[in-house]
């Protein structure tokens, strides 16, 4: 059987395994070892499977993963963001849509302190959402922005998704993280604009705080609350500062961040026994989930590579079909978005990485080769954000369903994401048209 067919069979097999509802890593790993055995005999099968564990061990940025997961749980479980929320609430409350604006800013700060979207969603859905609903905000609008805002966690550094991308694409994590800064801020800016416009057109969607209520908040209280804003700055600065300045390594910076977050929680007396238990257990669960999917993905990638299928696909797209580089890029993003509806980000990375990343590296887009895969990492991450919130399969969607107050129905959640998806796609288009938005900062810091 020609290798191209084996590659197709591998993909079909994996899709079937995933659809069966078996654990994702089992499906991917199973197809990988069966293909390895079919190609290279039994020894090939177990060599590839076991050495994937060694590969995973050798890849040092992986050490940051449990640290960032831990940090995210400490932050959301100990409600470290409560004061932060109060701060935005008081300061932005008086203007129409102000609480929603405050919530978006809160999401940006939370994103800068952890690497996943889960922490942001938990904070948004449990602290901000009930309050917003009580104040008469439009439930679909605010449900949407919390989902969209929390997904910034993977675009604004630190980002676990970009660590995984870095591992598979073999690109520098530091540059990828910096590349995510401005696209993340841009997307947050679009969310803000969206809220301002909608509330401007229809003030009922986001009523400001009443005069009576405002009168009850003293100025000393307002100033005191500003101090809450210091916390994320301290955590972010102590984590990213020494790293960017070269005093500590990436891995070490993640430990510093996790340690500081833990001490702050202890100092605030929020780290109760029960919270501790939740954090420790969930960190293990989430870390194991990622590690095992990656292990399976590495095995899958190695077999796929071993087939030489990558080369066949490259020549198919570039030579046989004769498509232009931009056409290929856009086709890839569209197929990616469609897959994102059904798959989660890790599964998507596993499936498309062996195909898309080498292909993107070959495309002549008028950019230096060193830049292309950094820029593409940002495009990939935005696509993951869309995948998070689009039905039928989306992490944030499920979590929102579980965490939102009862008055927010499933239909509300589904409808809430339509404009948000639109904004994300707009950001994607802008970054495709203006790669400098992503690439400017890494160029400044790492100089090229």
């Amino acid at each position: 059987m020609p290798y191209e067919y084996i590659a197709i069979v591998m993909f079909m097999g994996m899709m079937a395994m995933l659809l069966s509802g078996q654990r994702v890593f089992a499906g991917i790993g199973f197809v990988a070892v069966v293909a390895a055995i079919a190609l290279w005999g039994d020894r090939g099968g177990y060599d590839i499977a076991f050495t994937s564990a060694i590969k995973l061990m050798n890849w040092y940025p992986m050490l940051t993963l449990p640290m960032f997961v831990w940090m995210g749980y400490v932050m959301s479980e100990t409600r470290l963001a409560d004061d932060l929320y109060r701060m935005f609430h008081v300061w932005f409350g008086p203007i129409p849509g102000g609480l929603a604006i405050g919530t978006i800013l809160l999401m940006v700060l939370v994103s800068a302190m952890n690497g996943l979207s889960v922490a942001g969603l938990a904070i948004g859905a449990t602290i901000a959402l009930p309050e917003l609903l009580k104040r008469g905000y439009d439930k679909r609008m605010v449900t949407g922005i919390i989902q969209g805002g929390s997904s910034l966690g993977i675009l604004v550094p630190p980002s676990i998704v970009l660590v995984l991308y870095a591992m598979i694409a073999r690109q520098p994590v530091g540059q990828l993280w910096l590349a995510g800064v401005f696209p993340g801020l841009l997307m947050a800016g679009f969310f803000l604009l969206y809220v301002v416009i909608r509330c401007g057109l229809n003030p009922k969607m986001g009523p400001p705080l009443s005069r009576e209520e405002l009168a009850t908040i003293t100025w000393s209280e307002r100033i005191r609350l500003l101090r809450a804003g210091v916390l994320p700055v301290v955590i972010f600065a102590s984590m990213m500062g020494p790293f960017v300045l070269g005093y500590v390594s990436l891995v070490e910076s993640s430990v510093i961040g996790a340690t500081i977050a833990t001490f702050v929680a202890i100092a605030k007396r929020r780290l109760t026994k029960q919270v501790w238990e939740t954090c420790v257990v969930n960190t293990l669960g989430v870390s194991c989930m990622f590690m095992w999917i990656l292990l399976a993905a590495l095995a899958f990638g190695a077999v796929f590579d071993g087939l030489g299928a990558v080369r066949a696909i490259e020549s198919f797209f570039l030579e046989d079909l004769g498509l232009g580089p931009w056409t290929i890029l856009i086709l890839m993003q569209v197929s990616f978005l469609v897959m994102g509806m059904f798959l989660d980000d890790t599964a998507m990375l596993v499936i498309v990485a062996p195909l898309y990343i080498p292909l993107v590296a070959k495309l002549d887009l008028g950019m230096p080769p060193g830049d292309v895969l950094i820029w593409y990492g940002v495009l990939y991450t935005i696509t993951c954000q869309v995948a998070y919130i689009t039905p039928p399969f989306g992490y944030n969607l499920f979590l929102m369903r579980a965490m939102a107050p009862d008055q927010v129905s499933l239909g509300d959640i589904y409808r809430s994401i339509v404009p948000i998806t639109g904004i994300m796609l707009l950001t994607l288009a802008v970054i495709i048209l203006f790669p400098e938005i992503a690439l400017w900062l890494p160029h400044q810091v790492y100089g090229q």
């Binding site: 020894r43 090939g44 590839i48 520098p172 790293f243 070490e252 190695a302 071993g306």
Partner: protein, 317 residues
Amino acid sequence: APIRWRMQTYAGAALGEHVCKPAIELFNKIAAGQMEIELYYADQLVPTSELFRAMQSGTIDAVQSDDDSMQSPTEVTVFGGYFPFASRYSLDVPVLFNQYGLKQIWEEEYAKAGVRHISAGAWDPCHFATKDPINSLKDLEGKRVFTFPTAGRFLAQFGVVPVQLPWEDIQVALQTGELDGIAWSGITEDYTVGWADVTKYFLTNNISGAWIGHFFANQDRWNEVPEHLQALMEVCFEQSHYYRQWWYWGGEADLRVNGPKLELTSIPDEEWATVEAAARTFWDEIAAESETKAKVVEIFKKYNDVMAKSGRPYRYG
């Protein structure tokens, strides 16, 4: 159907472009469909630390690597890669193998492990490229450096902290601060693979004048290949060694003088002499470990003695 082989090199894609790919493409072209070698780069199929085992078991048919990087379980492992001060020029390596008897020792050692030693070749000298300038031995203290295992063992006595990472991650590790420098290659490689973009200084003193590396194959797979293709493979690999002779030699001189990215620094000769003296002690320690190792060290000594006595251009001073 053609015979298909999978070969993995320890070099990453950017370097493999020069040190391996041309030879493999040449082989595939001349073999004209009778046989095809597919080339994979560092860690692509299996991690470099598992490379030897994968070749032994036949998951990979052939390998290009030094003995040290792929952790071959043989007696000669420490001499592959950079054995401190064993060679001065890249031509030393083929002479040592073909005229001084190393080839036979290597063939025997690998035959014991079911692996065919096809041929040995030389690469570049081993220099430091660092983020901070190195002007004395003291400047080396506490530097986290990516280097070959044996070189690392030797350099640790001068306060260097050797670090092992997958080859493809080195550039990133220099950026993320996991590394302060590398002691892995000459200046040609620093420029070719992008390390010159993330370091600032190049130390002109080297701890070895030429890397020793090889092409290997799984013995059973080798036996299955018809004789004329075996011969073709040997010729193409020799051609690859030759390509490296001039590619590195020319690049080393040119980039020191005309390269825009790295500033040259030197440790004074008198101070560097202490490192050379330490190497002699290190040789004796290694020789004491086994009979085979003693035999190889003896050959190094004999060869270097001849070179030193022959004077210029073989040795200066």
